[in-house]
Structures are given as structure tokens and as C-alpha cells.
Amino acid sequence: MIRRRRHPRRDVGRELDEAAVTADELASPDAVLDIRGLQTVFRSDEGVVRAVDDIDLVVRRGTTTCVVGESGSGKSATARSIIQVVDVPGQVEAGRILFRPDDSRPAVDMARLDPRGEAIRGIRGREIGLIFQEPMASLSAVHTIGNQISEVLELHTDLPPAEIRDRVIEELRSVGIPRAEERIDAFTFQLSGGMRQRAMIAMALIARPSLLIADEPTTALDVTTQAQILDLLGDLKRERDMTMIFITHDLGVVAEIADDVVVMRHGKVVETGPVDQIFHDPQHDYTKELLASLPQRHSATRAVVTEPETPPTTTVGGSADESVRHTAPDVTPLLSVRDLRMEFDTVSGALFGRKRKEKVVAVNGVSLDVLPGSTVGLVGESGCGKTTLGRSIMRVYQPTAGEIRYRSGDGTVADLATMSEKQLLPYRRAMRMIFQDPYGSLNPRMTVQQVIGEPLRVAGMAQGSELSDRVADMLDRVGLKRAMATRYPHAFSGGERQRIGIARALITGPELVIADEAVSALDVSVRTQILELLAGLQSELGLTYLFVSHDLSVVERICDRVAVMYYGNIVEEGSAAEVFEDPKHGYTRALLSAVPIADPRLRGTRERIVYRPDDVPAADDEAA
């Protein structure tokens, strides 16, 4: 590859000079970034959206400033405005973005630089690094990670190619990627999610920027991977004396890493302050509301915020096949799953080639009881088989082996695992499902009336005005207006759509409802409302919930019993109190230790546990 480093022309120097601001104009002498009156506006035919609406923000040198807010709060737009990479048609229209990379230099007002000019390009990547949420989408799939990381050095330094390669390998190693000298030539789809995000971090940091902006860098990751990435960012920040802006919707993460917190809502900053003040003495109602949506917080033991430090790490073993069972209550279960096994065939090799049939065991002989009227949580990380188990119980899949014993109202017990589609019909009304994605799970061409009424119509349970009446009743129950029945799903917000999904699940009068990540896609404040709705409906209608989720805090809050899944096995099962307060299995302990504690005063007090199954050799890839 030909290295083309554009040497700055004279007008770059002039542009920077014109944008220079003396240091005493900064809000405080130790400010790296001082944003004043920033407005970022998206103008399109549909109207004007003020994504960032007149905000002030100061980031002190060497600190971590967390910007928190829900979707649409303008937190990402703020991050992108700083280096002027807002997506079209967005534009920074007003305000000052004073950036001072080091103490000895004057500050630069980046809002005055041409977004396409050379001056700001010299700052991007070199002085300010950016990490994005979804590493798969944020990196090019058709270039190797080495190619993409090297580019930063090719652009901002004069190093020869061989030296650049060495630097990239070294950087990959320092962000904890094993076998970096091979991985440098890997493509993104050949790496795990955690590894991809590490590569992204290496890319953002290789030019040693003084400011790192991380835009939801752990949101797409599993909780144990999130813990590793947060630890890594903390270590790097300390080693390299960086300043970090961390954007997140997760207050737990904020409590773990922040020094200062900025709370945003509808494009405005509603509250700023040191992390301890935000968590223990919030001033604004919205901050209080956000905090209230957190799971019950443990009372503070110490009133001192400790220096952020990576907590000690212990590695625990234990067999992945072992299943810890806490005491089971002596009640006849509504649903009783016995040794359920679900295998999928994957065929590799092409036509005329050697075909290799491989079996993927998604659910590996699982047994689980669900008591009538209770809420059972099924937790685990992505790929552990929790969703497959839920769908197997619903008989979306035909289980490979095992029993699904369902106890009907009249006391008869039937095994759903072997039933034909026709025999299953009555059970399809008794067992219903709520899906994760409130956008993807509603047909955009059906009215709310049609969406909710369809299960009744298909089952022949009601028609005409009776159908409309029942749909209207159901809308009342889930907190929507009857008049909304004639509208189409696109007219509703995420939370309202999820209410429609719930109404559709409940219209047939089911006994068991399987909620598959039903609140995962929702903002915290909306999530609280939906969870309250589900709880209300449960007591009103005597429902039983199987609540599939990766979010341990939600499960802890609403579930009576919890089953923890790991690679197709239930490794631990018991009452919520037993599992959360006294976890026995190594994996459960590791999982719980990775959940951020939503209290800055408890930061660094908990030991980080890493689980490594006995029968698996220490894999460098995933466990690193």
C-alpha cells in the first residue's frame, strides 16, 4: 500500500490560528474540553430536529466523564459533534467546542473548523479517538483489522510500513488480544464480539490521543465481556494518562467508572456533577427517576469514592454439566420440563463436496419446573440456549428428546414434546409469547385491531363486534386507548408497541406467558412501566411468566425463581434470593460479579470472578 501522508498546507495553519482561543477563556484551567451553547440540528424535509440543544459541558483533564441518557437524548450526537462527524443532514450550527490537547498549548475552537478541512482531520484520530457501540458494524468487514488500524498511523505519522505493522501488533497485544501477530490479518467476522471491540479500542488509541470518546462501547456485549472491556478501558486510561468521555444509557456502568456525570434528556443537559453527588444527592427530577428505575440499591457502606481500580480477579472452576439445585417448593408445577434436548443440524461443505453434518446442541438435557402463578427467570449470555429453550417449550421447534409436561386447568397432564400440530392447538392458546423487538415483531401493514385480534380470529374464538370488543378491553388493560385500535404500529413509540405485543399475547386468555427479552430493547424509564404492567396483569389474571433475559437486574427484581443457563445447560436453579445472594455454581458467581454495581461508593469493593469450566482447556480467545 502506498503511504500518502498529506503534509499540512499553509492554510491549515491559518485555519488553526484563527480558531485558536487563549487558555484563560476555558471554564477551568484543567479543562480538556469546554463545550458552550452547542447546537446540533438535523434539518430535513420532515422537519427540524434539535438533537443537541444548547448544551454546556466541561471535561476535566485525566477524568472520566459519563454522559447518560435514554435513546433520543442527544448523547451520541453530542459525541459526534465534538469532532464534527455527525451523520448528514446533521450540522453543528452554534456554540463553541474548545479543545486543549495539552496544558502547554492554546485551546482550539473546533466548531470553527471546516468539518471537511484538514485542520479537523489532523485532530480526529490523532488527538481524539472514538469508539462506537457495535464493533461489527463500525469496522469494515472487507478489510483486515490490521489494515484498518494501520491506516491511523499512515495518516498521522511518517513511520515506514514495517514499523507501523509492529506498532499495530504491539497495540493489539496491549488491549489483550492473544496471538496478535496472527490476528492482525484477521477480518472482523473471524473475531468474537469482545475481541472486535478490543480491536476497535486499539484503533482509537494507537495514535495516543489525549481524549477518548467511547459511545456505548459495551452495550452490544454480554455482561462478562462488558466487565472485561470496562476494566481494560480503566487500565489504559490510567496507564496513558488519558481523558475519557463515556456515553451510556446504563447507570450501573456510570457508577463503576465515572468521575463526573452529565445527564441528558431531549437534547439538553438536565444535571451535571460528580458521580457521588449524582447518585446520592440528585437534584433534577429526571435524574431521580432514572435512579429509581435501578434495581434496589444496597445501602452505602462507605461515604468515600475510592480511586477507580481494577478489582482483584479470581478464577473459579466447576463442571459446566453440573447443575446446582436449591430447595424446590412442594407445589404441583404448571409446566414441567424433563431432560429436554434440542439439537440443530448444521451442514457445511457445498454440493458435490464432502458434507459434514455437525450437531449443535442448543439445549442439553434441561429440566425445569414452572409453578402456577410464579415468575421464573431464565438468564444467561448470548448463545447459551435460553431463547431456544423458550421456543422449544412453545413448540416453535420440535425438541430432539425429552418431555414438556403441561398441566391443564382440569388437572390433566399432557406431554407437548411429542404432540402433532393439531393436538397442540388448544395449548397454543394457553401458552403465549412476547417478543424482544417491538419494531420487528409487529406487522407494519396491519392495524392494531388486526394485530391484537388475529390470534382470536385464527382460533375462531371470536369475530365481528365481539372481536372488536375484546380487543378494546385488552387495549384498556395494557394501558392504551381504545381509539388506537385503527392505527398502524408505526404511529407508536417503543413502549406502546411492546404494550401492543403484550395485548396480542394475552388476548386468548393464556395461563403461561413466555417473555423473550421483552424489555431489553426499551429505555429504562419505559422498561419500569412495562414491568409494572406485567406484574399488574399477573396478579389480575393469575398469569405464570417464564421470563427469558440476559439482564440480571431485571430478573432479580421481578422473578420468584431463577434458572441460569450456560452453553445449553442449566447450571443453577433456585429461588431468586438463593441464586442472587448465595450463588453456588462457578458460572453464576462469575456472571453476578460482572454486573456493574449501581453505586459509586461501592466501586472496586467486589471481587471479579472469572469462570473457566473444568473440562475446557483455558481458551485464549473468549476467556481472555
Binding site: 459526534r80 462527524v85 448528514v88 482531520r121 469494515s140 495518516l155 498521522h156 467476522f189
Partner: protein, 330 residues
Amino acid sequence: MLRFVVHRVLHVIPTLLVVTLIAFFIIQLPPGDFLSSQIARMEAAGDSVDPAAVEALRTRYGVDEPFWVQYWKWISNILLHGDFGLSFEYRRPVSDLIMERLPLTILLGVATLLFTWAIALPAGVYSAIRQHSGGDYVISALGFIALAVPNFLAALVLAYIGFKYFGQSVGGLFSPEYANAPWSLAKFGDLLEHLWIPVVIIGLAGTAGIIRTTRANMLDELHKPYVTTARAKGLPEGRIVRKYPLRIALNPFISTVGWNIPSIFDGEVIVATVLALGTTGPLLLSALQSQDMYLAGGIILIVAVLTVIGTLISDVLLAVVDPRVRFGGK
């Protein structure tokens, strides 16, 4: 990678088998057989027909034999002897007829292809980057006009302009004085003078489609997060576009690039006929009109085989260019 190519090649064999069957089926479609209709026509014209010659032809082509036997004779002659049979109309071997028109056909096809890409790709990329700008609208409007105007009409108009304002002879790829002259620099110059009309006409229609595809692909890719990432690294806009979105937006192209091979060969039947070009296109048309079925069948077979081979080339190219295909499916 080698495995991938070998697999792909193995896929081609059964496809080709089916293709030859269908081509032969088309030859057999018209009622009666070609010899009997040919003899009838000759007798009607008062010519005497030598019964021995007819019998020889009958045996050679196995006209009275069942479909499968005929197919076998046809395909084995092609495979073993490279013999595509005899054209009834021209009374010459089909392969000779095709071969003598091939160089010009390929020249025209390749020139057209290069012209199309040279115009369409930059126009499509520009259109996407400056979406909703004046330039975008002009390009789109011109593209749609080029797509909507029938080729033959444009051919007539351009031929008229060439004749009226540049004093060129109408039709053909050569001026009359060079048509039968041996190759020389002057003849080649004469060819280039005539070539632009068919190239522009055939090229423009294809351009419109490619502009729209490129524009749509680029618009999809331009707003992907990885473009923002590249921007956040400090890359200049031009380099971002060339290295990242364009690379992916070109994939659909690469996967169809092989389809151009047959169209290079068949040389745009209608435009070539209107302009009286000496390419294979008019040959195919006249063969179909006069039921000269071995000639038609031979051309159709070659086009079909080239389509299959073109697709194979595309698949391999795509794997070379896109690592997701190369390493995909493990």
C-alpha cells in the same frame, strides 16, 4: 480458495448439460424438420433435388431418429469434432460463420462495456455522494432518458447525425472503400470512426441501469457506521469513499460482471441489425427468421455456455474480492 473454485467448476458441469439439452430442444421446436421444408422450398422453386444428397444429409443429421439420438449426434459432433453442423441458408459450416464475425463482435462488446463502466460508475458514485443536488438530478434524468429511448431509434438518430454532419457512410462498421480491403492502419482508423455510434447507443442504455444500482448501493453504504469510523480516524472524504463504501458497493457489480461475457458475444441483435454491423447479432436474427436452426442453435448454445462460464468467473472474482465470501460458511 482452491476448494471453492473446484466446487464451483463441478457445479458448472450439470448446468451445462441442461443448457445444451434446452438449446437443442429449441432447435427441434418448429414443426416438421428443416430438411423437408428446405426440399419443399427448393422443389417449389423448380430446382431439382438430388435424392442421394438428401439421403446423405438425412443420415448426417439423423433427422428421422428419436430426439435423444439426434441430441447425441449433435452434441457429440460439437464436443468431439468441434462441428456445429451446417447452415442451411449459407451452406457453410456454422463454426466458420461465427468465427469470421467474432473479432468485430468482441471488439464492439468490450468497447461498449468499458464505455459503460467509465461513465456509469463515476456518475453513480457522484450521484450518491451529492444526493439531491442538481448534479444528481441531471444524471438521474439523463439516465432515465437513455434507458427509456429505444435502442434502434437512437441508432437511427445517431446514424443520421453521423451522415449529415460528419459525412459518414450509414450502416456497417466500415466505409464502403474499406469494407473488403485488407487490414491496414487506415482501415482501423475507419473502424474507430464508425465504432462510436453503436458503442454510445448500446452503452448508454446499460449506463442508466448501472448508475441507479451504484447510486442505491452507495447510498446504503455511505451511512453505515464504519464510514463514520473512517471519518473519525481523520481520513479525507475522497479516500473514505474510495476505500470503504465503494469497495462494498461494487460487490453486486462483480457478481454480475460475468453476465457481460455472453452479451459481448451476441452483439446486441437489434442495434446491430439496424446499423448493419457485421457482428453475430444479425446472424442470429436472420437464422431465426429463416429457420436456419443449426446456426441459431449453435449461437444460442455458445451464448448459454458463456453465461454459465461468466457466472463462474463472477463467483470466483467475488470470492477474491470479498473475504466474507471466501471465508464464509466456514
